[in-house]
């Protein structure tokens, strides 16, 4: 690594790619691992960022915004994704509305909450059942490529994509007694 160009964090790269693709609406239900990205999009006037009461709301807001010409992304954690299948299956997939989803992965690699561990196992089978492409991001050097190409593809094919932030990339949430 070149010492004069320090490595940028995943959330800085992620936010830059969103900007390049004019994705300026960020809806979220908070998560500890997502906090630096949430802080960044709140501080940067390019983005309109706000929390919603439930993940489904964010999916609906982003769907409406998309149809009206504005691009958005929904940020959540694994347990929040588990509240979405009905809305994805009846709104975004059949209406062919590209939905960008970013999930902070709980439930694995040091999980301390059994509920998170169990619900996490439903995420990929649900994504596969609904034919939603998903990428688990584990390495910093892959983030830009995965996010950039996937946004292009989602828009071109009018389909959704889910980015899964692995603890291998983010460090995850560390067990604290």
């Amino acid at each position: 690594m070149d010492e004069e160009t320090p490595r940028r964090a995943w959330y800085e790269i992620f936010a830059d790619v969103l900007k390049q693709h004019n994705v300026d609406l960020v809806t979220y239900v908070p998560d500890n691992v997502l906090r630096p990205l949430i802080d960044l999009v709140h501080e940067d006037p390019f983005f309109t960022a706000f929390s919603v009461a439930r993940e489904e709301e964010g999916l609906g807001i982003n769907a409406g915004a998309w149809m009206a010409g504005r691009r958005g992304i929904l940020l959540m954690q694994t347990s929040g994704f588990a509240t979405l299948p009905n809305s994805i299956a009846s709104l975004t997939v059949p209406f062919q509305i590209p939905s960008l989803l970013l999930v902070s992965e709980r439930g694995t690699l040091g999980e301390f909450n059994i509920g998170q561990n169990l619900v996490a196992r439903t995420m990929r089978p649900v994504l596969d059942a609904l034919s939603i492409e998903h990428h688990t991001m584990t390495r910093l050097e892959d983030v830009e490529f995965i996010v950039d190409r996937s946004i292009v593809q989602a828009i071109a094919t009018q389909s959704s994509v889910c980015f899964i932030l692995s603890p291998l990339l983010t460090g995850g949430k560390v067990f604290a007694k």
């Binding site: 919603v52 709301e57 609906g60 769907a63 409406g64 998309w66 504005r70 958005g72 059949p94 209406f95």
Partner: protein, 204 residues
């Protein structure tokens, strides 16, 4: 804010109206290509029956998301007025979305609630609105100060005209009867979406 003088203090004091009739009255007041999002069930069946406006979006599932979808349209097109039509059973599923609308306070957004106190499409089972829940009061508590019950048909028209003219967000509660809808909405999602996008200028 100049609200109509005959403003019912509660759900119990509002006149029971007819869904198709008031939907028709609302559509007649739309002169500037306003976007209308119809929630699932009879709410959007009657919206479809009144007139197939290109600026209408008809939800086919995702119960409870008419308000979030409308909010998204309103945020993306701040110069266009947007109305979400939603049933009482549906909004009861997403009461949090009222707080989101209250917090974002979009000036170009109005919510119309069709409240018959029942899940009519599934057989008329009682909804919580028939057991004490007052959506207008809930909305006020969620931060939507301009939330009112429509006293009757002429008050409803006055409120819609007000919502189209003055800054929102608005919530207009309408008590409706148990009449069946006048038609059934088309069920082709990509076609509905494409027509809506053409109607609001985002698709050629």
């Amino acid at each position: 804010m100049a609200l109509p003088a005959n403003q019912p203090a509660s759900r119990a004091e509002a006149k029971v109206m007819n869904r198709f009739d008031i939907t028709k009255r609302m559509v007649a007041l739309l002169k500037n290509n306003e976007a209308v999002i119809g929630g699932i069930g009879y709410t959007n069946f009657d919206l479809w029956a009144v007139e197939r406006r290109p600026q209408n979006f008809y939800m086919l599932g995702s119960m409870g998301l008419a308000v979030p979808i409308g909010l998204g349209v309103a945020l993306a097109q701040p110069k266009r007025k947007v109305i979400s039509l939603e049933g009482d059973g549906s909004i009861l599923m997403q009461l949090g979305s009222l707080a989101t609308v209250g917090a974002r306070a979009p000036k170009n957004f109005a919510i119309v609630i069709m409240d018959n106190g029942a899940y009519q499409i599934t057989g008329g089972q009682k909804a919580l609105t028939d057991q004490g829940a007052d959506i207008v009061a809930i909305a006020r508590g969620a931060g939507l100060a301009q939330s009112v019950w429509a006293a009757d048909e002429s008050a409803f028209e006055e409120l819609i005209a007000l919502a189209l003219r003055e800054d929102g967000p608005w919530l207009i509660g309408c008590r409706i009867d148990a009449s069946n809808p006048m038609d059934t909405t088309d069920r082709n999602p990509p076609r509905i979406k494409d027509q809506f996008m053409r109607g609001i200028g985002t698709l050629a």
